[in-house]
Amino acid sequence: MGSITALGIVLLILMIIVGGKQGVTSFLSMVVNFGILFFTIVLIAFHLPPIIVTIVSSVILLSITIFWSSASDNASTTAFQASVIILILIVVIIIPVEYWAQVGGFGLEDSEELEGLSTYVGINFTKVAIATAILSSLGAVAEAAIAISSGLDEIVTQHKEITSSQLFLDGTIIGKQIIGTAVNTLFFGFFGSSLALFIWFYGLNYSFGEILNDKVFAAELIAIVISLIGVVTTIPITTWIMSFKLKRLHKTQLKE
């Protein structure tokens, strides 16, 4: 048995112990997400337009992550709507930034790995970098949206009479608590995944300017900062959607 299979089994068992049925669903959502991610890469390899393929699969990935979580119907619908809006926002910001920074493709640090590989494959790697940045932000955006909308949904169910402006204030307070720690998840993920790169920079005496302008580093940094932007904007957008829904609900109740 391979290590990946063994680790997968350990994870599945632990998730069943903690979550029962929900544990199985969470595990499956990761497996299906992997399948979709790999399929996205294959489609790009077949020369389908990278950005469009990525946006379509991002919506599917977001819906799987959000609707297969244990959040209530109202919370997960709101979370999904909010995260799609944020996805659009991320796409709008990332496309000009990636073209401006030109971080697509591979850096000098990759030379050793590229040995024997043809890099003239006819796929625009700037677009691939855009796809990478969008995909790496999805998990963080989905998680933040679920956390905030679940919190708000809890408030709405407990205090049925709450006004939408009061809900907006509460949402901002809940959001602040959640985002403060969610940012750490992102940054430690970034530190962890680029530890080898940092050791490389230090070992080869890169100056601060060289690191900042380095293609590989810049690509990772852009991906993480765009996720950060996505996570932070989750607060107002999720809260706004939730209070909009509440307002509409109050209106229909008044009519009745």
Binding site: G19, N33, A45, G180, F191
Partner: protein, 368 residues
């Protein structure tokens, strides 16, 4: 009245934010004097003809050559005008198409006469722009809390850099030890900033540390039992020292944020619960902790999954286009990302159990 005030505030904020972002980018566009490397500004581009080329895997690409006219903007040769030849492919994998107005780092050759080759692009302006957006959003949306978040990032970055330095000075012989100590310091500093000095913080700290340590032990155990089959350390990128301990250290640091995030959520909620209903038994607290954890663990695992997996996309794509099978492309590029995701998943699930357990044991109703 209230809404009027907030909307007015928001307009001023939006203008300030936009001004700040462009100012940051503008500063970086004109900071050439800060660099020691010569910088070349492109004033005019002459594009040559495109050449069609096909590689052995029937990938079609177009190769272009261009001549860049411009001048050096810093250093001893500032103001010198000349031209540089550049070539690029449509895929931009290892090359760039340069345009008018861009700034490039170049290598200058003075023999036999002044000429140069392009090294890389100057990228600080877009990065500063993006950073400015992120920082101003943090301040506008999180207000005072934004200061805590940013200072936590800054402090952790400095600590991280110090650990990298110590690791380098030891020639990478004690990676796991160094980064384990760093992990403890990271947790302490971050939790102190987020929760303040309290019993709740100590409970969270112990839950985080125990869960992380248990995760690493389980990982090593699984690796030993399966003889690390299917873990291709040789596919690790940018490795300058022994790959296995480096990989463990990477995962250790990578999972830490998620584990802290989760433990803080669970323990804070349980403390509030115990506060409101002090009659709840230890077992009840444990059970509600599991209930909370159950709903957050799935999305949280996906956060790290996407961070670890997405970055393998370009290289996997290149492998696929170079006639490799799906299986081989996966093994050489994505298997390590998958392994890290699974290990992080184990850490995240263990955190649910340990934080509920510790909260049940140590948190009493009368404290906050």
């Amino acid at each position: 009245m209230d809404t009027k005030l907030t909307s007015k505030m928001t307009w001023i904020q939006i203008i300030l934010v936009i001004a700040f972002c462009f100012l940051a980018a503008f500063f970086c566009q004109h900071n050439d004097g800060l660099y020691r490397q010569p910088i070349f500004q492109v004033n005019r581009v002459e594009n040559g003809k495109a050449v069609k080329m096909t590689d052995e895997f029937h990938n079609v690409d177009y190769y272009h050559s261009q001549k860049l006219y411009g001048q050096i903007t810093n250093g001893t040769y500032a103001g010198k005008k000349f031209s540089i030849n550049n070539s690029y492919s449509d895929s931009h994998a290892m090359d760039h198409e340069y345009k008018r107005g861009q700034k490039l780092f170049i290598t200058l050759h003075t023999q036999p006469k002044l000429h140069a080759t392009v090294k890389d692009m100057k990228r600080d302006a877009p990065i500063a722009f993006l950073f400015a957006i992120a920082i101003s959003l943090l301040f506008v949306i999180l207000k005072l809390r934004g200061v805590t978040v940013i200072s936590s990032i800054v402090i952790n970055t400095i600590l991280f850099w110090i650990a990298v330095k110590i690791d380098h000075n030891n020639n990478g012989s004690a990676v796991i030890l160094i980064f384990s100590i760093l992990a403890v310091v990271f947790c302490f500093v971050t939790l102190l900033l987020v929760m303040g000095w309290s019993k709740k913080m100590l409970v969270t700290l112990s839950a985080v540390l125990c869960a992380t340590a248990a995760t690493i032990l389980i990982t090593l155990l699984v690796f030993a039992v399966t003889h690390e089959r299917g873990v291709y350390y040789e596919s690790m990128q940018y490795v300058t020292q022994l790959p296995k301990p480096l990989f463990i250290a990477e995962v250790l640091i990578g999972v830490l944020g998620a584990v802290m995030d989760e433990a803080t959520d669970i323990i804070a909620s349980l403390a509030t619960l115990k506060q409101e209903r002090p009659q709840l038994s230890k077992m009840d607290i444990f059970k509600s902790g599991r209930q909370i954890g159950k709903s957050i663990m799935g999305p949280l695992i996906n956060v790290l999954f996407f961070i670890f997996m997405a970055e393998t996309l370009p290289m996997t794509l290149l492998y696929l286009k170079n006639g490799n099978s799906w299986h081989y492309s996966f093994s050489m590029n994505m298997s390590l990302g998958m392994t890290s995701s699974l290990i992080s998943g184990i850490g995240i699930v263990l955190t649910v159990i340990l934080s509920s357990l510790f909260a049940g044991l140590w948190i009493k109703g009368d404290e906050r």
